[in-house]
Symmetry: C2
Subunit: 197 residues, 2 copies
DNA sequence: CTGACAGTAGACAGACCTGTCTGTTATCGT
DNA sequence: ACGATAACAGACAGGTCTGTCTACTGTCAG
């Protein structure tokens, strides 16, 4: 029955419900598109509660993006624990990312979308740089451990494929994006770990 | 002398000045960030002129993105004319794209930025899909001509690297992005043109 | 000279957004 | 039982944005 479909209400404290609503709406429809009213309605919370707990929309956006960062960090840590050899660890990171982008609710990288039209100093860009710096550092370290001849380049190239794969899902509705990205990553790792370029 | 720096006025008919101003401002600061008032001020044109020539902001955005598409198409056509072998033509396309992203005024892909937070049916997403469909088709054809074992996958992978390189420049201020992207593309082409996977 | 027309300048309407403020209700510790 | 606190509902202010409308100006054909 179309039209009778209801969204299940959010649970927890107002603070938690606000973050959950923000995560849901900001990610699905965009940080700039979704207004405060939409968020508090979804959270089932009064506007005053939002401003007493978070202080501003910007702060809520920051909390939203930081929670995404944390979630990704935890998932990657888990995947890294399962891998053994340095090379496997490098690929494991990438496969985890690729896994995520093939999920049906994937709408592209939250950081990329939130900061696509920012002027370079707003909260979206700040948190994005933190996240991306962390990801690059992680990959550089793993690439070095795996014996890459140029760890920085390899890490950056893998991030490129990751970003591009996410865009491919969103912009081109390319369902093969994940598979193609993993294949590309494997090829880049093979070349990057070869003894001499 | 800081502060005395003036922007040179735009030339041509009001229609041309409007498109030039839109191209400049929309690309530099974002389609959603820049309002009509900024555009007409830069163009040196009355608001009524904008609405009599283009009809709406959406139509101006469409014109802006279509002009970007056309410009890229022309540049690629030129580069393709210089290349000889199918493999060179494939790499030429990519090197032209990489060239562009290393330019000092590059701010990321205009289509990606304009449609980063759109809901899937607005003018930014429509023109983006046209552009990206065209680009993928072009690359698939070239990959096929070059004898790729899986032309579609190779084309998509190259687009991923292109997208990712553009993001790297914008998000991470990575000046090596172009070089690293070309190296990645070369590696992917090498693998993709190998006789059997 | 004059009338049509393209363009300018700017006020205005209507919508939307963030953030504040007032007043009310409910819960919980003591 | 009761006071404090947290949360609710919603009006309101102040700003921004798109798009319309009025009134003025200059140019050019006939």
């Amino acid at each position: 029955m179309a039209g009778t479909q209801t969204v299940e209400p959010l649970a927890g404290t107002p603070r938690e419900r606000l973050l959950a609503a923000a995560d849901e709406l900001f990610y699905a429809e965009g940080v700039h598109t979704v207004g405060i009213d939409r968020v508090i309605e979804r959270a089932g919370v009064a506007k005053a509660s939002l401003y007493s707990t978070y202080g501003s929309k910007d702060a809520l956006v920051r909390a939203y993006l930081e929670s995404r960062h944390e979630r990704i960090r935890a998932r990657l840590e888990q995947a890294l624990g399962r891998a053994t050899t340095p090379r496997d660890r490098l690929l494991a990171v990438f496969e985890t990312l690729a896994d995520r982008i093939t999920a049906p609710d994937y709408r592209g990288c939250a950081f990329v979308r939130a900061s696509a039209e920012s002027d370079g100093d707003d909260v979206a860009m700040q948190t994005s740089r933190e996240f991306r710096g962390w990801l690059v550092d992680l990959l550089v370290g793993l690439a070095r451990d795996a014996g890459a001849s140029d760890p920085d380049t390899l890490a950056r190239q893998l991030v490129m494929v990751y970003d591009g794969a996410g865009l491919g899902v969103r912009m081109d509705r390319n369902g093969e994006s994940g598979r193609q990205a993993v294949a590309a990553a494997r090829a880049l790792v093979d070349v990057g770990l070869a003894p001499a370029g």
